[in-house]
């Protein structure tokens, strides 16, 4: 299998806190890769740096065999990395449908003139945006909520809407930050199915998750962060028995 994403010595510092310490990891095409670690380990920071939302302090990233510039978040999305947020960030005053339609932004063209004149090509594009959004809402199972405002959706539906919006950018790599947080057991199971389907459809998944069962059941490989550094990487069963990991989770005096 070929490499999709490779980070080399990625670092990030917040004042005195080294939130990421030379994190190097490699994600293969088509795998489900877990990123775990105790609270404050730097998992979300890894996402934020990877998607260009926070400037990195060191290291480099290769995506699809190309060096990836992290200075412009929209370029990262364009390159094919989409994400969800730990603390859901939807466009609250837009409908679920519109949220997903915004996700198509990067893959469509219409500018101001197109919007005003609305000629044939533009209308076709707009229809395609809507059709794709509808498809994605159905895929994540919230088509019935299409015309409701995002901030009126239930928590679980908001998580799914975020996934649909991220998928709308046609990502090669989908980065999910604790997608099961706040979900009940049946919702979590449905989410696991969804992630499996995504992978079957050719999307590589990077998953931050605290639900150990979910991570162990889904991921091909996991990396463990602690205090911003990678302390283990490998198959879930291996990592689980790694003494350093056990120590990180249980904590030592």
């Amino acid at each position: 299998m070929s490499t999709l994403l490779e980070t080399r010595n990625l670092s990030k510092r917040f004042g005195g806190v080294l939130a990421l310490k030379d994190v190097s990891l490699t994600i293969l095409q088509g795998e489900i890769y877990g990123l775990i670690g105790p609270n404050g380990a730097g998992k979300t920071t890894f996402f934020n740096v990877l998607t260009g939302l926070y400037p990195k302090d060191g290291g480099e990233v290769f995506f699809d065999d190309q060096p990836l510039r992290l200075t412009h978040p929209h370029e990262v999305a364009l390159a094919g990395i989409a994400r969800t947020f730990q603390n859901i960030r939807l466009f609250g005053q837009m409908t679920a449908m519109e949220n997903v339609m915004v996700g198509r932004h990067a893959r469509t063209q219409a500018g101001i003139m197109g919007a005003i004149l609305r000629h044939r090509l533009q209308r076709a594009e707009e229809a395609a945006i809507r059709a794709r959004a509808q498809e994605l809402l159905e895929f994540v199972g919230i088509a019935a909520q299409a015309n409701r405002l995002a901030h009126h959706l239930s928590y679980g539906d908001q998580r799914r809407l975020e996934i649909a919006r991220a998928l709308a950018t046609d990502p090669k790599l989908l980065a999910l930050d604790e997608p099961a947080a706040g979900m009940n057991e049946s919702e979590t199971r449905a989410l696991a199915d969804l992630i499996q389907q995504l992978r079957a459809g050719g999307v590589t998944v990077l998953l931050i998750e605290h639900d150990v069962k979910l991570v162990m059941g889904l991921c091909d490989r996991v990396a463990v962060l602690d205090y911003g550094g990678k302390i283990a990487e490998g198959a879930p069963t291996e990592v689980r028995h790694n003494p350093a990991v056990i120590e990180a989770y249980l904590g030592t005096a």
């Binding site: 994400r83 990067a106 197109g114 609305r118 707009e126």
Partner: protein
């Protein structure tokens, strides 16, 4: 049903100035004209503040740019006399360029900080206009530019205020049309997305810098058109017309009417132009009738009541008088 509604509105728009002129006099037609200019301004600002969520307190600068652009190209000041149909589109373009120039340095700012900086820019433009009479006399300074060519044919049996009314209505309709189309488009959605959550918008692949600049440019160009019309209507421009209070007024129209909602913004602009005037004219006689004398200067009273009205509306209808009824849409299929 829908066609009948359109016909009704069209008829009302067509006969309105004649009815107003016959019943209330030409001064009120003039006021109607001003209301239409403010509608254009409010719709332009609505793109920046209502859609993209960028609080702009210097918006009137683009009105000034449009007005002076017209004044310089159609007055004895330089002896240039271009026709209005040539100046307006260029004026819109020029104001749009100013929108980008003044917007670019503010891209990283939000909320209060953005408001303060745009306020400063607005004042800078006004002060420049005020002082650009030396070493080269571009704007004629505080004296302003007079004898500007009118934008409509004069000397007809129909009063020019009514002709301006029709000209303004046509441009308002054009601006409304453009506004509606933008709202339901890829760019319009990107504006709202930035307003709702800029970080998430970036992660969705939106080039927030360009999309914000597009909002500044579009909003400014509407202001530029309104400014050009203003100059042709008044046949006189001076820096005084473009102070901070004007920016605040237009913002009030947008907020009071219903930010981001085109019909609401139109309502806000018309109300805030017409109501104070009605009030101003009736406050004097009313006091005369009640107290036998004018106790409070109508002008001061007007501002007082304006403030009170604003507070009341914001307290009881924080989303504006006519906000977008998005919630209704939640229960109907697209």
């Amino acid at each position: 049903m829908k066609i009948r509604g359109v016909l009704l509105i069209a008829t009302a728009l067509i006969v309105a100035p004649f009815v107003v002129e016959a019943t209330m006099g030409n001064a009120w037609v003039r006021l109607l004209d001003f209301a239409l200019l403010y509608v254009m301004l409010a719709l332009g600002l609505n793109i920046v503040v209502g859609f993209a969520g960028l609080l702009d307190l210097g918006y009137i600068a683009f009105y000034a740019v449009g007005a002076y652009f017209y004044a310089l190209l159609a007055s004895p000041h330089f002896g240039i006399h271009w026709p209005i149909w040539a100046i307006l589109p260029l004026g819109a373009l020029t104001a749009g360029v100013f929108g980008v120039l003044l917007g670019a340095p503010t891209l990283r700012l939000r909320g209060d900080y953005l408001a303060i900086v745009t306020l400063g820019f607005g004042e800078i433009i006004r002060i420049f206009i005020n002082n650009l009479n030396a070493p080269f006399n571009l704007t004629n300074g505080p004296k302003g530019i007079a004898n500007i060519d009118p934008g409509v044919v004069t000397g007809l049996p129909i009063p020019s205020t009514i002709l301006y009314y029709y000209l303004f209505v046509v441009l308002v309709l054009l601006i409304v049309f453009i506004g509606l189309r933008l709202q339901n488009s890829r760019i319009g959605r990107a504006w709202v997305a930035i307003r709702e959550d800029e970080m998430a918008a970036k992660a969705c692949g939106i080039h927030t810098r360009n999309v914000k600049l597009a909002a500044f440019a579009m909003g400014a160009s509407f202001g530029g058109v309104a400014g050009g019309l203003f100059a042709s209507f008044q046949t006189f421009v001076s820096p005084e017309s473009f102070g901070l209070m004007e920016s605040v007024m237009v913002l009030c129209m947008v907020v009071l009417g219903g930010m981001g909602h085109i019909p609401g913004v139109i309502l806000g602009a018309v109300m805030l132009t017409v109501l104070p005037e009605i009030f101003r004219q009736s406050a004097g006689p009313m006091q005369q009738a009640i107290f036998g004398t004018v106790v409070l200067d109508p002008e001061a009273l007007r501002m007082l009541l304006f403030g009170v009205a604003l507070i009341v509306v914001m307290r009881y209808r924080p989303a504006g008088l006519w906000p977008e009824q998005r919630h209704r849409r939640e229960f109907v299929a697209p």
